[in-house]
């Protein structure tokens, strides 16, 4: 962040882009000033405002972990004006970046515990940050399970990594899709059903979930039935944001602001807020 003015982005350059799915593109960026890039620090789960000057700004999670600082990665779904414009950018193009913003996953509290990642669609982006962070500090955590679903096989993000993770041997990967194609070898069905079928045990475990609202709703229900307490469930909230620093007002839930008090919340914290999300 610019120390004098939180609205002024740092200038960054896109060093690589590639498609994840038909509507999700990944961008790898570095700050233009090498000294600032070397000094850049963030925590897993924190977000950034990406600027395309002339179009605007939007919030995206930094989906690479702080243990891998060659670049900052963002995976962006093409949905609105800014993301359409972002998708037209190519390697070498300049963008603006305001980061790090928001809180982060409580990874310190997760040490020594079994971790269950439950993701849907592009909800895998923040989970990827935390998962890679944990894999880079593997000894600090217990069993790691990833349950990840998408509409179709081609809508799954990070496909190469999903394969690598499944082959690592020190974590479990369960993939599922709503609509399989002929080549699909994983599961078919919605994420909460897989979670229930696997009967993930809640003892000394933390569930981290991110995905579309409908998936989250049924995932929370399934986790409850499996015996997970609200304190053991961590999720992230989506919200329209502008300033990213708790001033512009729109991301409030009661007196909390998702851009500074979130985006990461435990289910216990969410239950303490006015139910308006």
């Amino acid at each position: 962040m610019n120390a004098n003015n939180p609205y002024i982005p740092e200038l960054a350059t896109i060093i690589e882009t590639f498609d994840e799915t038909p509507d999700v593109k990944t961008f790898r960026v570095v700050l233009q000033d090498p000294a600032k890039m070397a000094a850049f620090r963030f925590e897993p789960g924190q977000v950034a405002q990406l600027s395309v000057f002339g179009t605007g700004e939007s919030t995206f999670v930094i989906c690479s972990p702080p243990t891998r600082m060659e670049y900052l990665q963002f995976s962006v779904m093409r949905v609105g004006e800014l993301t359409h414009r972002l998708h037209t950018l190519k390697q070498g193009d300049p963008i603006g970046l305001r980061a790090p913003l928001g809180n982060h996953f409580p990874y310190q509290d997760m040490q020594g515990k079994d971790i269950v990642f439950i993701g849907g669609g592009l909800g895998m982006a923040p989970l990827r940050t935390l998962l890679l962070f944990m894999l880079d500090n593997r000894a600090d955590y217990g069993n790691i399970t990833l349950i990840y679903g998408g509409r179709t096989p081609e809508h799954l993000c990070f496909k190469d990594e999903l394969k690598q993770w499944a082959e690592r041997g020190d974590m479990r990967v369960e993939l599922t899709v709503d609509n399989p194609d002929a080549a699909w070898q994983g599961r078919t069905g919605v994420v909460p059903a897989v979670l229930t079928e696997l009967a993930v045990r809640p003892e000394n475990a933390v569930a981290v979930t991110c995905g579309p609202p409908i998936m989250i709703r049924f995932t929370l229900e399934a986790l409850g039935k499996l015996g997970f307490k609200d304190e053991q469930i961590v999720t992230t909230l989506e919200r329209r944001m502008k300033c990213g620093v708790g001033l512009c007002g729109r991301c409030n839930i009661g007196e909390k602001f998702v851009c500074v008090d979130g985006p990461v919340f435990t289910q216990a914290q969410l239950k303490g807020l006015p139910q308006e999300f």
């Binding site: 003015n5 939180p6 609205y7 000057f53 939007s58 001033l247």
Partner: protein, 368 residues
């Protein structure tokens, strides 16, 4: 600090003198409205009635640059561009003439957001430091006024640099000018001392001003609001008339929500901060199509909640209102006066208290 006297007939001349050192915003009549305009010598500031707009535009402009940007093509490789950013220019010294005490008190509530919440907003801070408030004390309450609910009063000084007390009876009309801050005192340095009969007249008028209707006890409103938060029928009923026009937020001295957008001209442009309104459905519409405040009920609930529940919960130490807390509302009544469908935030607040008492008769603070 001795009080000075400003003759009504000298107002334009004195304002013109201030305009040599400041960008002066002064209220003028435009149709049915009284709005702030940049002062010019041919203008006579209109101070008889409260301005239609609040004074917040002096320290939180409706639109302002956050920065400007410029793209430049790399002359050796035209497929590549570089971008350059330039900070916004610092604000000019500004004087706003004609706010009312409720507007001046709004400054403290804007400070809560932009200076005290967490990240300090550098542009707001600069505007704040560069701006003087020459406030006009009120002599009576209009039927939309409720400043005393929130800790204000007709002649409250807080947030003002100068407070002008109208003295109109007996001979020369004008203002007893009271400096509240050293900067305000400097503004008044060339004015004559207020004559004793004017001070006596002012004292007599203040003594004769009737006390307003007692304010309701709002001590329990922050919790009462949360108790009725989920009662969407209640909020649907309260917002049935609301048109989502947002005039309440634009005229409010404490509404501070803003949007950030880019305005592009070829290879350069600017990033703007503009007033926004939580009454608009677009305000919270997410890229996915999901909207956490999908109806007018949700949106009006947010505005009332922010003023009377979220703000006192966020700043629990503050106690400017008689109920021992602080609201993000100065009781100026503009949202009531200018609402095209007569939504009355006072009535909503009282209804919230009553509804909460109905739901939990033992716990509610309730209106007395």
């Amino acid at each position: 600090m001795v009080d000075r006297f400003l003759k009504d007939s000298d107002l334009a001349v004195v304002t013109a003198a201030w305009a040599r050192d400041f960008r002066v915003l002064a209220p003028v009549r435009e149709g049915a409205a009284i709005v702030y305009r940049l002062f010019s010598e041919d203008m006579h500031p209109f101070l008889l009635r409260p301005p239609t707009s609040s004074a917040k535009e002096a320290i939180l402009p409706q639109t302002e640059n956050l920065f400007t940007y410029k793209y430049r093509k790399d002359q050796t490789d035209l497929t590549r561009t570089e971008v350059f950013l330039a900070e916004a220019l610092p604000p000019e010294p500004t004087l706003i003439l004609g706010p009312r005490p409720c507007d001046a008190r709004g400054r403290h509530l804007l400070d809560r957001v932009f200076l005290e919440r967490g990240v300090v907003d550098p542009q707001y801070k600069a505007h704040r430091a560069a701006t003087l408030f020459v406030t006009v004390a009120c002599t009576s309450m209009q039927n939309t006024c409720f400043c005393h609910w929130t800790g204000g009063a007709l002649d409250d000084e807080s947030g003002s640099d100068v407070l002008l007390h109208p003295v109109t009876i007996g001979g020369v009309g004008g203002y007893v000018a009271h400096a509240v801050t050293p900067a305000g005192e400097k503004l008044l340095a060339n004015l004559p001392e207020a004559p004793a009969e004017k001070l006596a007249e002012l004292a007599a008028r203040r003594a004769a001003t009737p006390e307003p209707e007692p304010a309701p006890d709002l001590a329990g409103i922050a919790d009462a609001f949360l108790a009725v938060f989920d009662d969407l029928d209640f909020w649907t009923d309260q917002s049935a008339r609301c048109l989502s026009c947002g005039v309440c937020t634009y005229l409010c001295p404490t509404c501070s929500c803003f949007n950030i957008t880019d305005e592009n001209h070829g290879m350069s442009g600017r990033r703007l901060r503009t007033w926004d309104t939580c009454m608009s459905a677009l305000y919270t519409l997410e890229g996915s199509g999901h909207n956490p405040r999908i109806s007018r009920a949700h949106r009006l609930r947010n505005r009332v909640g922010h003023k009377f529940s979220y703000h006192p919960r966020e700043f629990p130490e503050a106690a400017t209102a008689p109920s021992g807390c602080e609201f993000s509302c100065t009781g100026c009544g503009r949202c009531i006066k200018s609402c095209p469908v007569a939504v009355d935030i006072r009535q909503i607040v009282l209804d919230v208290l009553a509804k909460a008492a109905e739901k939990a008769p033992d716990k509610a603070g309730g209106a007395k």
